[in-house]
Every structure is written in structure tokens, then in C-alpha cells.
Symmetry: C2
Subunit: 153 residues, 2 copies
């Protein structure tokens, strides 16, 4: 399946299985060798200041990192259980508009180590960096550690 088809399948899967992605109006927008981009409008994700609610920012960032690893594994025909284990987020400036989340593709050597560990042990961890941008400024950064686990056959 080409990447465009995988993106549509991902968005459909998120909407069907994670109700909050509907409430947040998350859209899957772009995937290339640099990473994966998701987008969310401000209104359903805003707070009492009329800026982006920190909890929504965190949810969007966690979801974007997860989605990148899920897509990359899917390209290889792999679909292990994939969960977030740890996250650290810096909230840099308030966001006053639509938010774009960018999960940055890990460099090839880290990705290969992750795949080898998953193949060998049935369990592997990878850290993904996700940046959130709004109106031309970076507004937050997440480092998320995701664990993939191949269920026993």
C-alpha cells in the first residue's frame, strides 16, 4: 500500500478506535522521510485563556509519536502492540491557532536497532521526538518512549 493509503487508513483507525481524536478533530496530514504530521484546530482543544489546553497538546503529541512508529512498522508488515511508556514535555509558548504536530523520524541506526531488538526479543523500545507548531512558532516539544511488543504466537 502506498503511503497516501496508509495515512487514510491511519486516520480512519484513529477515529474508530480512539474517540478523543474525534473530539479533538485530529487530521493526519503528511508523511515523508522527515517524519509524520498531524493537525488539530484550536477551538475544540482550547482552554480558559483561549489558547491550546496543555492536556490537548500532550495528547496530540503522544498520538503523533505513536502514529509514526505504527506507520513505519506497518510498511514492513509489522503490527505489534505499541504503547507509550514514558513522556516528557516542555510547553514553550501558548498556542493561539491551529496546531501542527511533527513526529521526527528517528535516524536510521536507531530505527534499525529498534527493529533488531523487536525481531530478537519480541519487545523493543524507541524514543521519538515530537514538536508542536502554531502560527510559525514551535510551542512545545515531547520526548516519548514507545514500547512495541509482539504477542507470542
Amino acid at each position: 500500500m502506498a503511503r497516501a493509503g496508509r495515512l487514510r487508513a491511519l486516520e480512519e483507525r484513529l477515529r474508530r478506535t480512539i474517540p478523543l481524536t474525534g473530539a479533538m478533530a485530529v487530521q493526519v496530514t503528511e508523511w515523508d522521510d522527515e517524519g509524520l504530521r498531524l493537525r488539530a484546530p484550536l477551538a475544540p482543544n482550547s482552554n480558559h485563556h483561549g489558547t491550546l489546553f496543555g492536556g490537548a497538546a500532550s495528547a496530540l503529541a503522544i498520538l503523533t509519536g505513536w502514529s509514526l512508529v505504527h506507520l513505519r512498522l506497518g510498511e514492513l508488515g509489522l503490527d505489534p502492540d505499541l504503547v507509550i511508556q514514558r513522556s516528557a514535555m516542555e510547553f514553550e509558548v501558548p498556542a493561539r491557532g491551529e496546531v501542527e504536530a511533527m513526529a521526527i523520524a528517528p535516524d536510521p541506526s536507531r530505527w534499525d536497532r529498534f527493529l533488531r531488538a523487536l525481531d530478537r526479543w519480541g519487545r523493543a523500545r524507541i524514543e521519538i521526538r515530537v514538536e508542536l507548531w502554531a502560527e510559525g512558532s514551535r510551542i512545545a516539544t515531547l520526548r516519548g518512549a514507545y514500547v512495541a511488543l509482539t504477542p507470542p504466537v
Copy 2:
């Protein structure tokens, strides 16, 4: 205002100003000297495994820590801008039921330092620990750093 009234006012404020709290069906349940408890059902906050979506867990924890600081300041007649600056979360086990978030009251000496700094500089930071529990087990822990900022008069 008694604490019960402040809790109801908080829930009403969250629902009115942070749309995602409605989508998550967050309830403000209890506040005492140990801390503040919020609760959310699993269904609107679940993922493709039928367990709690990590993004929803993170949003609930960030909200609970914010709410505790907001309530404690409100008791003193203070209502500064209050935002999350940094968060670190450990996802320990999957949650398969309703989730309770407990923001743990900071010890008095840390709280007093926070108040003194806010009074003196108009800006202060405090770290709050939030635990998430489901079906009798702790499922995740957040450390959130919140910044209070008194706008210039």
C-alpha cells in the same frame, strides 16, 4: 466559599472553558488536605486496545494538577494566570476501567515558598505529583511543573 462550592465551581468552569473535559466526561470528585481527585470513565478515553489512551491519561493528569493549584490559590483569594510549563509521565500498566486522578497536595514548606515567590516576584513555579489509579492499581504517575503569573496591575 466552602470547598464543596469551590469544587462545583471548578467543574462548571472546566466544562465551560475547556471543551475537551466534556468529551472526556471528567468529574471533579473530592478535595481534602491530601489532595484533589478527578475521575473519568474509560469509554470516551479508550484506545484501540480498549484500555486508557495514553493521551487521555496525560490530559487528565495535567488537568488534575492544574486544578489543585487553582483551588488552593482560590481559597486565598488569588487567581493568577496558571499554566503548565513541563511534564514528565510514566505509564506503568494499562487501565481497563474508570480512572481516578489524584493530585497530591505539596508539603506546606514548598507551598509557602511558592506563595512567597508569587507575592514577591509576581511569578512562581511549583511541581505537583499526580497519580492515576484504575481498578485498585496505580497505572501512571505525572510530575507537572506549573507556573503562576500575576498580571501587572
